[in-house]
């Protein structure tokens, strides 16, 4: 078992590795995500006992078992509620919520919406493999129209939800996307999510090797990724293509992928990435850019500052106590709602 954290000894990845087997299917994308988070945690300057990993139900939600911290494997879709309670109870804790496309956007959609709009200072990692894995392969709310599964043998007919647009609709203050085959990028995004004061929403494109293998290959497969991924870098133009010879410019209110140079776009037309723009239109444009029409944006789409719920709660309590002084039961028993019969004072 683990030993007590000693502040002098720097934490390493190994401190966050649990003894015993990891039980995802061989080849599952979750292994790489686990690896990335175990690499990130030692670098955050947080005592190990102050990490809390909360999850719902699903393959992704097995995550807490494999992080050697405090963990809570809760019930389907309800992780955001538990994580909110944890963070409000003790804002010192670094709270990580692990969810999936089914857990977070289907059964738990309501809770995800509200943790985002409240801006609870929790880091949310949504593993999006566009399938229900643990129940053995039903289409999920992010599956494209026409997905054939056991529950949709003729193909699904309902429009999928875009996780980034969902987060933006709730005006999440930090929205990012990364993918499971890029440990370095994941670790960078996780670190930024931790540093962000407020809710951080990270969509991780993840492969389910059993029920939806290669679902993201058209986006990040080895043969496609140079053309299909658009890495967002702060203050840098939105360039894509193997030779970075294409860029994104506006045509009216719509984005347009254009070749740069003679007969194409001038460099000055190419949009420059600004994740700190307070408006939502630019983020929305990025969130809606998708394969095959557009390259898929990867990185931090949006990071803005807004007061956090957990801090606001602590602050309100502080204000109340400054204004009214610490409450006493004696005062309560003299409020208008409960009138005393006999006059006289408390002895205390």
């Amino acid at each position: 078992m683990s030993t007590t954290t000693e502040t002098e000894t720097p934490l390493t990845r190994q401190d966050f590795v649990t003894p015993g087997d990891v039980r995802w299917c061989p080849g599952c994308g979750d292994y790489a995500i686990l690896n990335a988070l175990q690499r990130t945690f030692p670098e955050l300057g947080v005592p190990r006992e102050n990490f809390v990993v909360v999850s719902g139900i699903g393959c992704s939600s097995r995550f807490p078992y494999y992080m050697n911290t405090y963990g809570f494997h809760t019930i389907h879709g309800r992780g955001p509620a538990v994580a909110t309670g944890v963070k409000v109870a003790n804002p010192e804790l670094s709270v990580w919520l692990i969810t999936g496309d089914g857990d977070g956007l289907s059964i738990g959609g309501n809770h995800l919406l509200h943790i985002l709009r409240r801006n609870v200072n929790v880091n949310i990692l949504l593993f999006n493999n566009r399938i229900y894995g643990l129940t053995k392969g039903q289409y999920s709310p992010t599956s494209p129209v026409g997905t054939r599964t056991k529950s949709t043998p003729m193909g699904s007919v309902d429009n999928p939800i875009n996780p980034l647009l969902f987060a933006l609709g709730a005006e999440a203050t930090f929205i990012a996307r990364t993918y499971d085959t890029n440990v370095k990028h994941m670790a960078e995004v996780f670190k930024a999510a931790h540093e962000h004061q407020g809710v951080s929403f990270v969509e991780i494109l993840q492969n389910c090797v059993i029920f939806n293998d290669k679902t993201w290959d058209p986006v990040y497969g080895k043969q496609n990724r140079d053309d299909e991924l658009l890495f967002l870098e702060e203050g840098q133009p939105l360039l894509c293509g193997k030779d970075k010879d294409h860029g994104i410019r506006l045509n009216g209110l719509n984005p347009e992928k254009a070749k740069i140079g003679a007969g194409g776009a001038d460099m000055s037309e190419i949009l420059v990435h600004d994740s700190r723009h307070p408006g939502t239109l630019y983020t929305q444009m990025l969130a809606q850019m998708s394969h095959p029409e557009f390259p898929t944006p990867i990185g931090i789409l949006r990071q803005i500052q807004r007061p956090c719920y957990d801090e606001a709660v602590s602050e309100q309590i502080k204000v109340a106590r400054t204004k009214h002084g610490n409450g006493t039961l004696k005062e309560l028993l003299y409020t208008e709602d409960c009138w005393e019969v006999a006059e006289g004072e408390f002895d205390s």
Partner: protein, 629 residues
């Protein structure tokens, strides 16, 4: 000028009703305070319309209070009303429709409708008054509007204070007490408002002295004992603070919401917080998460909310996370009767969560208990790492009762949790094999890192699926109830320890049951009663107590099939919920009196049921209840 003739009574019930917004509530609450300060025993119940702004001058708009005042302490709403003071005839009619007014009641009613401009009002006024006179009621038409207009321009603002004065005259109350109460009720208003209110009250009092032929004297002994009066939801809220809770997570639901409103008003001064969640599920989820992370948390709800919380209840049980749920019961199933009382959630509280989910279930039987019960619930939740469900109901929630002022000399606010390191290797479930108890680890505590899970698990908290460890974990969780049961006392018996009939109640029916037992005992019936506070685990000694009576039956405000219906047989009859539980646990043939009138039982109804179930010593006493049940 000799004034009204004085009639002495040991108790009386008066209902004061108006259109919503006309101030009958304030008149009634003020009058109740006058009675209490004079030294009367007291129970008040709100009469609430189910819509926020119902159309005026309809039965659905009636709003006000029922006040039972007595020489001695009062434990329940009482029987049929002796006096109804109505601001219009539809409000009056609503009380007769509720079936809670005596056929010989005194009716006081504003006479403005007799000659109102609107023909329909004049007609309905005459019709309703004729009807109640025909029932046997005495009707006294009061120039409420006209007299009020002599003192203020807008009678809507002031009628109720004239009414207060009138009631003080009717019940021979000291006008000086009334003036003090008015000054307190309007203490946030200007002196002018207070002066006007007092002027109207004095005018009403004088009108009463000049016009009432008789007035009532319910003896009251001024007492030195410090007493407070509050409704059950306020008592729950203050009790939550007294118990040291840090967080109340809720979603608005009738009739539970006002408890969290009271909390919201003052909780932050104590370092607490009310979290309004996005739904009932999240409300318990936030409470559970906060509790795991070291706060003392509760969630307050009512039946439909309980249904939504069941999966999280299972999680609290499975992970042994301390948690308190308050269920202020209302009529069900589904949306049912949102503002009315029912004790319909007992079986749901006990067995609602899927799988075997042992938990503690307690019920408050008085408003005073609403104040204290959360301290007990919290202590059990933490010491046993258990889910504790506290059942209250709409009757307790909105009724007001006098009780001894709680001793607050030792404010039991809890010190911050101890997060000091635990030895490396400390397990999240170091179950004691005898009691099932284990130590709680809290995030932030060095050395205690580990996962807790909704899956079956072993002592180390890790998921496991084998039969042996599944059986063991169930056993450990279950043993905690048995261990708690060892510390409980058998219930006290109201009446003799043996006899012909034992009435068994739980929750807010206690006062009415005990009063009914007292009435029947005066008629020579060998009947006693008990109230069961712990529904899970049940207190010890029940079987032994039951065996000393020829017949045992529960009294509950929930549904049971009637005997005597040709379709209903011994095999098919569905019993009241406590009866189910007691029949199963004692293997005794326990009957029930269980109905869903949507209002509290009157003692006379229970008394009549007692008489139906025993050989009456002298003659068969006919049922005299007028109530529609």
């Amino acid at each position: 000028m000799s004034g009204p003739r004085l009639v002495r009574l040991s108790e009386h019930i008066v209902e004061i009703v108006s259109d919503a917004g006309e101030g009958a509530q304030k008149a009634a609450v003020s009058f109740a305070q006058v009675c209490a300060k004079a030294g009367n025993g007291l129970w008040t119940v709100e009469i609430i319309p189910s819509e926020i702004q119902p159309p005026p001058h309809t039965t659905g708009s009636a709003s006000g209070n029922r006040i039972r005042l007595a020489e001695n302490p009062v434990t329940n709403v009482g029987n049929l009303a002796n006096v109804v003071f109505a601001f219009n005839e539809m409000a009056l009619l609503s009380r007769f429709e509720a079936g809670t007014v005596a056929s010989d009641a005194l009716i006081l009613i504003d006479d403005q409708w007799a000659e109102h401009d609107i023909e329909a009002y004049r007609q309905s006024y005459r019709r309703v008054l004729n009807d109640v006179r025909n029932k046997g009621c005495r009707v006294m038409e009061i120039p409420l509007e006209k007299e009020t207009l002599r003192h203020v321009d807008n009678p809507q603002r002031g009628k109720n204070m004239f009414a207060l004065g009138l009631l003080c005259a009717l019940y021979n109350k000291d006008l000086e007490i009334a003036k003090g109460v008015i000054a307190n009720v309007f203490k946030k208003k200007s002196q002018e408002v207070i002066d006007t209110a007092i002027k109207l009250c004095v005018a009403g009092y004088q009108w009463g002295l000049d016009n009432f032929e008789t007035s009532y004297e319910v003896p009251a002994v001024p007492t030195d004992a410090a007493k407070v009066a509050m409704n059950g939801n306020t008592a729950l809220a203050l009790g939550a603070i007294a118990a040291g809770f840090d967080l109340c997570s809720m979603y608005p639901i009738t009739p539970a919401t006002s408890a969290s409103h009271v909390l919201s008003d003052m909780f932050e001064d104590f370092g607490g917080f009310v979290h309004q969640a996005e739904d009932e599920i999240a409300a318990i989820g936030v409470a559970l998460g906060a509790s795991w992370a070291g706060k003392t948390a509760l969630t307050i709800t009512s039946g439909p909310g309980m249904a939504l919380k069941t999966e999280f209840q299972g999680l609290a049980v499975m992970t042994e996370t301390p948690l308190v749920i308050v269920d202020v019961q209302r009529g069900g199933p589904s949306t049912g009767l949102p503002t009315k009382i029912e004790q319909g959630d007992l079986l749901h509280a006990l067995y609602g969560a899927p799988g075997d989910a042992p938990k503690v279930v307690m019920a408050a039987s008085t408003i005073e208990e609403c104040y204290y019960i959360l301290s007990v619930a919290r202590r059990i939740a933490e010491q046993f790492r258990m889910l504790v469900i506290v059942l209250s109901d709409a009757n307790l929630a909105t009724g007001q009762q006098l009780f001894d002022r709680p001793d607050v000399s030792h404010t039991p606010r809890r010190a911050p949790l101890d997060l000091s390191p635990v030895p490396a290797g400390t397990l999240p479930y170091d179950w004691d094999p005898v009691t099932g108890l284990s130590h709680r680890l809290i995030p932030g505590q060095p050395g205690g890192m580990g996962v807790i899970t909704s899956l079956n698990h072993d002592r180390n908290g890790k998921a496991c699926y084998d039969s042996e460890r599944n059986q063991r974990a169930h056993k450990m969780r279950s043993r905690k109830l048995a261990a708690l049961q060892k510390s409980l006392q058998p219930p006290e018996i109201h009446g003799d320890p043996d006899g012909d009939l034992l009435m068994v109640g739980w929750g807010s029916t206690r006062g009415a049951i005990e009063e009914a037992v007292d009435m029947a005992r005066k008629q020579g019936v060998k009947v006693s009663s008990i109230n069961i506070q712990f529904l899970s685990p049940l207190p010890p000694g029940l079987k032994e107590i039951f065996s000393r009576f020829k017949k045992v039956m529960t009294v509950e405000l929930n549904y049971s099939d009637d005997w005597g219906d040709p379709l209903i047989t011994e095999e098919s009859r569905r019993y009241g919920q406590l009866a189910w539980v007691l029949r199963a646990t004692t293997l005794m043939d326990i009957d029930c009196y269980a109905k869903v009138p949507g209002r509290p039982y009157m003692p006379i109804e229970i008394r009549d049921e007692i008489l139906r179930n025993v050989e009456t010593p002298s003659e068969k006493v006919p049922a005299e209840s007028h109530a529609k049940a």
